[in-house]
């Protein structure tokens, strides 16, 4: 039946940056979809069937075929739905620059932020310094690539979606970490970019309440710090055992 054949289902969780970016893309393109909330501590047989390799969300199912990995899903969405808003620029060279910066935000900056969230003490201080350096690099990169401004207030693209999903909740990150993440004076272009994205009705629609995100991030931070302490304790225990032989 044609309806079933064109059906779009998104399997995800509510507080994940990765699921959120796919939702954002689907809404920007005006693609109707069904959202299936997955329980990651008790994964559904359907999720395991659709993503047997990674067993993760998000998974987009279109025409009964699953697509996994958020960045790959976004490229797919842009290519499969040719009408309407384009997520990537038409010009191949600008596309390449956008892909480069998406990779930078996703790999360099997201990982730097994860390190800041999951560590403390000297390790965290070093991680914060590196994160700030990367923000400076991004600030300059955006200034060079988009001399007329990164975001015009209405045409959302791939790069906007990724930036919004990683650093849109910067106030949540600032509250949990007790540090400035996006400083208006140091990074004016990034600050006004993220502020403008967060003002979009679409973004407000898919963003959970601030307190909820704070609780999720705090839980992740506590868990990571306890894990690190556990590794440290195991290491000490091993040393003690060895030295007693």
């Amino acid at each position: 039946m044609e309806e079933e054949h064109n059906k779009v289902t998104l399997h995800g969780v509510l507080n994940s940056t990765f699921t959120k970016r796919v939702e954002f893309a689907l809404k920007v393109k005006g693609i109707p979809y069904e959202f299936v909330v997955e329980n990651l501590t008790n994964k559904s047989p359907l999720l395991l069937k659709y993503n047997p390799v990674h067993k993760k969300v998000p998974v987009l199912v279109h025409n009964a075929k699953p697509i996994c990995e958020s960045l790959i899903i976004l490229e797919y969405i842009d290519e499969a739905w040719k009408n309407g808003a384009k997520l990537l620029p038409k010009d191949s060279y600008i596309r390449a620059q956008v892909r480069f910066w998406i990779s930078y935000i996703q790999q360099q900056m997201f990982e730097a932020m994860t390190l800041v969230v999951s560590t403390d003490g000297e390790t965290q201080e070093k991680a914060i310094k590196e994160l700030y350096e990367k923000f400076e690099v991004l600030e300059k990169g955006m200034k060079d690539l988009f001399p007329n401004g990164t975001f015009d207030g209405k045409n959302v693209g791939f790069l906007d979606i990724i930036m919004c999903s990683v650093f849109g909740p910067y106030k949540v990150q600032e509250q949990v970490l007790g540090i400035k993440v996006i400083d208006q004076e140091r990074n004016p272009i990034i600050f006004s970019w993220v502020t403008a994205l967060n003002e979009l009705p679409l973004v407000k629609e898919i963003t959970p309440p601030h307190e909820e995100l704070v609780a999720v991030l705090q839980t992740f931070r506590n868990f990571s710090l306890n894990l690190a302490m556990l590794d440290h304790l195991i290491a000490i225990k091993v040393c003690v055992l060895c030295s007693s032989c």
């Binding site: 996994c68 990995e69 892909r99 480069f100």
Partner: protein, 231 residues
């Protein structure tokens, strides 16, 4: 006609599999280019000017436009030069090619490299993931007759091409067994076909020099290792 090789330049490092991906793609498309060797341990002002953000190779220069990151370059090459497409036309097949390329990069390439540059428990942990991931890839390799791109070499073949040539060198240097042809007959057969392809086999670094290089490099990195090493 103005020489097209003046319009396309590739900044590279002789032993880098990332750089070879770009060269293979250009050769498959029949695009002439000028190759510029870069000493990544003594970075030139040219590299720092062309790729100030990551300061890495490969870098593609096309008509003064600069593109960095091997996968970004592959997509750019495929869009600019439309002959002999690297990615399939169908969006779902494109997504699958990108998915498996990412999987192979993260779960086989990075783990095999980490296994080479570490020891003890870290090495064992990395080897286990690399081998388990190859088991998954073997399932995909069983589905193909010739190449992942069909009758022609495609994006996924290029992405995974290092398996047929760099991996055996790493196995020898690191005294490891990862791509066992008895355990992974389909992947091994594909890797052999890929490396033997006329456009590929004449564009590989010399094996003996690779052994020397990776032996030295892996020892250097092992001595400063603290957990996973990013390639």
């Amino acid at each position: 006609m103005a020489s097209s090789s003046e319009k396309v330049k590739v900044l590279g490092f002789w032993v880098s599999p990332f750089v070879r991906r770009v060269e293979w793609a250009l050769k498959l498309k029949g695009v002439d280019y000028e190759y510029i060797e870069e000493d990544i341990f003594n970075k030139s002002s040219l590299l720092l000017k062309l790729n100030p953000v990551r300061q890495k190779v490969p870098v593609l220069v096309h008509d003064l436009k600069v593109v960095a990151e091997s996968y970004v370059i592959l997509e750019y090459i495929d869009e600019i030069w439309k002959q002999n497409s690297l990615l399939p036309l169908d969006p779902y097949q494109r997504a699958m090619a990108r998915f498996w390329a990412k999987f192979a990069e993260e779960k086989v390439f990075e783990t095999a490299w980490n296994a080479l540059c570490s020891g003890g428990e870290e090495k064992e942990k990395a080897l286990k993931i690399a081998i388990e991931s190859l088991e998954i890839l073997e399932g995909e390799a069983k589905k193909i007759q010739n190449f992942f791109g069909g009758d022609r070499i495609g994006y996924l073949d290029i992405a995974m091409g290092w398996i047929g040539y760099w991996l055996p060198v790493w196995e020898q240097v690191g005294c490891m067994s990862i791509l066992d042809p008895l355990k992974f007959p389909a992947t091994s057969a594909w890797a052999k076909r890929f490396i033997s392809h006329p456009l590929i086999k004449h564009n590989l670094p010399p094996r003996e020099e690779m052994l020397v290089y990776f032996d030295k490099r892996s020892k250097e990195l092992s001595s400063i290792s603290q957990g996973w090493i990013k390639v």
